[in-house]
Symmetry: C2
Subunit: 444 residues, 2 copies
């Protein structure tokens, strides 16, 4: 059979990893596919010309020409960013090429348009590398768990954030301090907003939610809260209560609709996913038939992400000549039956909650706080009054000017009610600063 010819858009971190794998493992890949896979050429910016030369790959600066080259069967988009990635991907599709993309923002924001174009052209657009780097989690959810009604997905899907939280938990360090180290190590960008504020995770969550529930991509409906305001204090209180704080992307189907949320989350420390540390990623998926399953591995990096690009290439090679009707649907479900299950507003989320209230250490304060919960019908799981400065011991006499942190854990409750409770608590004279709130998930 004729070799399959690959065109690469971009030879940055992921592009280089992909090219290295295609070259080093060429014989292994031919043993798998029954035909050769060869790199035709790469469209690169000036900065990557040297990389192309070192790899012995023909390069061009004209991406538009590459995606219309009749010799190329499959285009791999590994540039990132919005334009010209979108334009070139759509053009590749129009020219009948199958496309693989590592660009999570592109799929999360423009995926519906891209897949519509792909269906019309009868080509595949694959995106395993866009979520959780080298972990084949898209394939697991879309195919491996195809028997299931997926109930929820919860993932550590940003390595930078997980590195920061792991360091805070294991070494008692402050957020800003670890962030600076992460930047020095190259784990975090100079502008870390995308990672630490959860935007990158929201892109990936959008994609996983679509293939889990068979819904259109709806990035703008993801509730996103970052980790920059997590304090060392909260990390330490959480540990004392038996929880670890992880930045999770959660997509959950309930009777009322679908929750899409990225936020710091307390998880029982004995859960396997609570022990995923450093820059590693992990995605926990619960199906109605299988129960909980988890997928773990490197969520970024040159060859790990390249591994997913090349796996997608192998998949596409097998359907190059297949009737599109037999292709695995892009979003796991047939396009004409994507569901219109509503995405819920944050007030309708259901979760348990961790609250840290700073209150004056005087009689009646606890009673006034707990009565607010009572009136709203919120059940409290645990309540702990901490010393004013952990480790300094308790003074025998309560001092009216001493402010102490009170930690509350609630049972499952609608978030709207918690917001009401917080508003009421903050009105109390004895409460001296805003209430810190974190969500708690048992993930079982």
């Amino acid at each position: 059979m004729k070799p399959v010819k690959i065109g690469l858009l971009g030879l940055g971190t992921v592009g280089r990893g992909t090219a290295q794998i295609l070259q080093r493992n060429a014989a292994e890949l031919e043993r798998r596919c029954g035909r050769q896979i060869v790199i035709h050429s790469a469209a690169v910016r000036n900065a990557s010309k040297v990389a192309a030369e070192e790899l012995g790959i023909k390069s061009t600066s004209d991406g538009a020409a590459l995606v219309s080259d009749p010799e190329i069967d499959i285009v791999c988009e590994m540039m990132g960013g919005d334009q010209p990635a979108l334009e070139w991907v759509l053009s590749a599709i129009e020219h009948g090429k199958h496309v693989i993309t590592a660009n999570k923002a592109l799929i999360a924001v423009h995926g519906n348009e891209i897949f519509e174009a792909a269906r019309k052209a009868g080509v595949v657009v694959a995106f395993e590398p866009a979520v959780a780097g080298g972990i084949p989690v898209i394939k697991a959810i879309r195919e491996g768990l195809a028997a299931n009604q997926i109930q929820w997905v919860a993932g550590i899907i940003n390595g930078t954030g997980n590195f920061i939280l792991s360091e805070m938990a294991s070494k008692g360090r402050e957020f800003a301090d670890v962030l600076q180290e992460a930047q020095e190590l190259g784990y975090a960008e100079a502008d870390p907003t995308f990672d630490v504020e959860g935007i990158d995770a929201a892109h990936k969550l959008t994609i996983m939610a679509s293939i889990a529930f068979g819904i259109p991509l709806q990035f703008n409906r993801v509730f996103t809260e970052g980790i920059s305001k997590i304090s060392r204090e909260d990390v330490s209180y959480a540990e004392e209560l038996g929880y670890r704080i992880k930045h999770l992307g959660i997509a959950k189907k309930t009777d009322k609709g679908i929750e899409l949320r990225v936020h710091p989350t307390l998880i029982p420390h004995q859960r396997l996913i609570a022990n995923v540390n450093g820059v590693m990623n992990a995605v926990l998926v619960r199906g109605d038939a299988v129960g909980p399953t988890m997928y773990y591995g490197p969520g970024a990096g040159s060859e790990p992400t390249g591994s997913s690009v090349v796996a997608d290439i192998v998949d596409v090679v097998r359907v190059l000549d297949a009737d599109p009707v037999n292709q695995v649907p892009h979003l796991a479900f047939q396009a004409d039956v994507l569901s219109d299950v509503p995405i819920l507003e944050p007030a309708d989320f259901e979760s348990a909650y961790y609250l840290r209230v700073h209150a004056e250490d005087k009689p009646g304060v606890m009673a006034s706080i707990t009565s607010i919960f009572g009136q709203l019908g919120i059940s409290i799981e645990a309540i702990v009054q901490k010393e004013s400065s952990p480790g300094e011991g308790v003074s025998a006499q309560a001092d009216a000017n001493t402010v102490v942190p009170v930690i509350l854990l609630t049972r499952l409750v609608r978030e709207g009610l918690i917001q009401e409770a917080i508003a009421e608590i903050e009105k109390l004279d004895s409460v001296t600063q805003s209430v810190a709130m974190l969500r708690v998930e048992t993930l079982n």
Copy 2:
């Protein structure tokens, strides 16, 4: 499109789970496949007639008739055992049916013959449910990691064994005691040999090794050691040294060949897989491009295993009308290029080792033991002399009749050399009983 018709062989634990999923999630499955999947009938033993009636499934006792029924497209074999499973699977293939089997022994022992017949007939034989229950690990290795040269696979692939070892580690219990509880809970069979001696794990390892390395199935070449001789003492010493004991199936490719081995293994306790407890399974796979990835979930059970049967059905539905040349090869690599890499003998395994030597507590004993290692060129990582009875304190005076355990951890070494060392140590007058040996893997 016409509905796809499924014939079930067996309505025991897995058969029932499969049928329940096909019925409950019928609408979801149709949304995925674009066509209906319906159960045509089931071949059952008398004991399962009631189950068939309860599920509203037409039943027969004539499996031979079912596998040749022209109305049936896909046969799911969920009977277990050797015969008539083998005969009926081969007959289904001859009659042009695609086959899905949950029968690990059948694939591990007769797989080469079965896949050869399937290739001739142009049908798929899928076996995701045969390994690690509901975890889609066959798909992950065969497709998700297709970019990689797999370096090794290490898995907790027997839930019974993992339950026993988890209880021994967390509660300091003895093997026999936990085994009895496992039998009462229904986790272990009346005759537990298959599980605790590693035969079940060896079946699964055989299958994973084939798809990882592209080699024929070679069950009879797997080195197998059970967990029945693990003592509470070793579990506790291992914990003190920072290790946890897990019963692992390990397939490793080295320069000399392939190691296939099932045995109790010391793993650093901070590894994620060391924290997989109870009846859960997990498989760690290392690829040259991706690095380490792990797949975790329920390794047995009615609907978890049924989840894998039905996922395979969905895969097969997509290639029902496809040219067989485009099918994913049964063993991940094209059949005509399966590799003849040799399977290594145990003496050629390379590992680190934990040894427990019982020696009289008198001067010169340690020197005579360590000099044996020195002469053989074996590097020692750690050596610890324990008290004679842990917890009873050390007597001030060494007593020539007191026997103390000495624990040694070696660096990486060929197993043949360790066996020599053990033989030499056991010849020492001061060594009072046979040396206990366990393998140590860092899995990084």
